[in-house]
């Protein structure tokens, strides 16, 4: 049961990581990244490392996402053809 859960979380994380890089919209990329942080929180917890999971939940899924979003809002979007 736990093994199945771990495998499922791993697959989900791979998909989320790919989508984070592949999506053309930066804002949704940040949201996918935060979801990735949430998924790795679950994975850390399943690997019985609740201390690391707690840190990842706050930093990975919370603060770093907000910092990325703020950086995104304060910069201008421009697309080059090159």
């Amino acid at each position: 049961m736990i093994g199945l859960l771990i495998t499922g979380t791993f697959l989900l994380l791979i998909v989320l990581a790919y989508v984070t890089v592949a999506t053309p919209y930066l804002a949704s990329s940040v949201v996918y990244f935060m979801a990735f942080g949430l998924g790795s929180t679950v994975l850390y917890f399943l690997f019985s490392a609740p201390d690391v999971a707690l840190t990842e939940a706050v930093i990975g899924a919370g603060v770093s996402g907000v910092v990325f979003l703020v950086a995104l809002l304060q910069t201008q979007t421009r697309e080059d053809d090159a």
Binding site: P50, D51, A53, L54, T55, V58, I59, G62, V63, V66, V67, V70, A71, L73, Q74
Partner: protein, 237 residues
């Protein structure tokens, strides 16, 4: 022509370095025996005898590797220092980025004390349950982040109090370490009674140390987040 040659030389050197390093890494990996399980059991035994801390991870972080924690706290302080130098040039000109949203305001107002309380709980119970100074400190800082996002400049933080917390807790960690050096001969060795395993007042200096680390991390991350959120108002610029 010569430009191309230098690039090629660089590439070759990089490839050589990478292969050398991977060979070294492979050697280390194959030579070091996989004794992590035995090491873990030894650490757990040591933890039961030496620190009386129910959370073994905490005792590794603050007791067996306390000096590393002091280094981490120092690195955090230096990075905040750098951010402050880099970003905070003209505070009067800048406003905090926020959103006028009633739902967010009421939610922040209601949730703020709960999140602060949860952070304090994580810090104080660091030696009993998962968590500790860093985690609890960041949780407290995230409560302030929520306040900033909801209220913006209407929510004012007294920086003198933050600086006071930060400095006092930094000094506290070092003083605790020096006390250990004076009494036990080792930096950050235990100077307080160990107490009974599993109670709130147990683990010697670990709860006190984590309280200092938690206050320090909370103050630092709060200041960092405020620096990041301060922005030139796009409509004025």
């Amino acid at each position: 022509m010569s430009f191309k040659k230098t690039i090629k030389l660089k590439t070759i050197l990089t490839a050589l370095l990478v292969s050398l390093l991977s060979i070294l890494l492979l050697k280390v990996i194959t030579q070091v025996p996989l004794t992590s399980q035995a090491l873990g059991i030894t650490l757990l035994d040591l933890n039961r005898d030496l620190t009386h801390s129910a959370n073994a991870v905490t005792s590794v972080v603050t007791y067996f590797r306390g000096l590393d924690t002091l280094g981490e706290v120092t690195i955090l302080f230096l990075s905040i220092f750098g951010v402050g130098i880099g970003i905070d040039r003209s505070t009067q000109m800048k406003t905090i980025l926020h959103y006028d949203n009633t739902l967010l305001k009421i939610g922040a107002h209601v949730l703020f004390p709960v999140i602060i309380l949860f952070g304090i709980y994580i810090i104080v119970h660091g030696h009993l349950s998962p968590g500790g100074g860093f985690q609890g400190g960041v949780v407290i800082a995230s409560a302030f982040l929520m306040k900033f996002l909801a209220y913006g400049d209407a929510y004012e933080l007294d920086h003198r109090i933050l600086v006071l917390f930060e400095a006092l807790s930094g000094v506290g960690v070092v003083v605790l370490g020096l006390l250990g050096l004076l009494s036990g001969g080792l930096f950050l060795s235990n100077v307080l009674p160990l107490g009974r395993l599993g109670t709130l007042l147990s683990g010697g200096i670990i709860p006190l140390l984590y309280l200092f680390v938690g206050l320090k991390v909370a103050a630092e991350i709060t200041v960092l987040v405020e620096y990041f959120l301060r922005t030139q108002d796009a409509r004025d610029a």
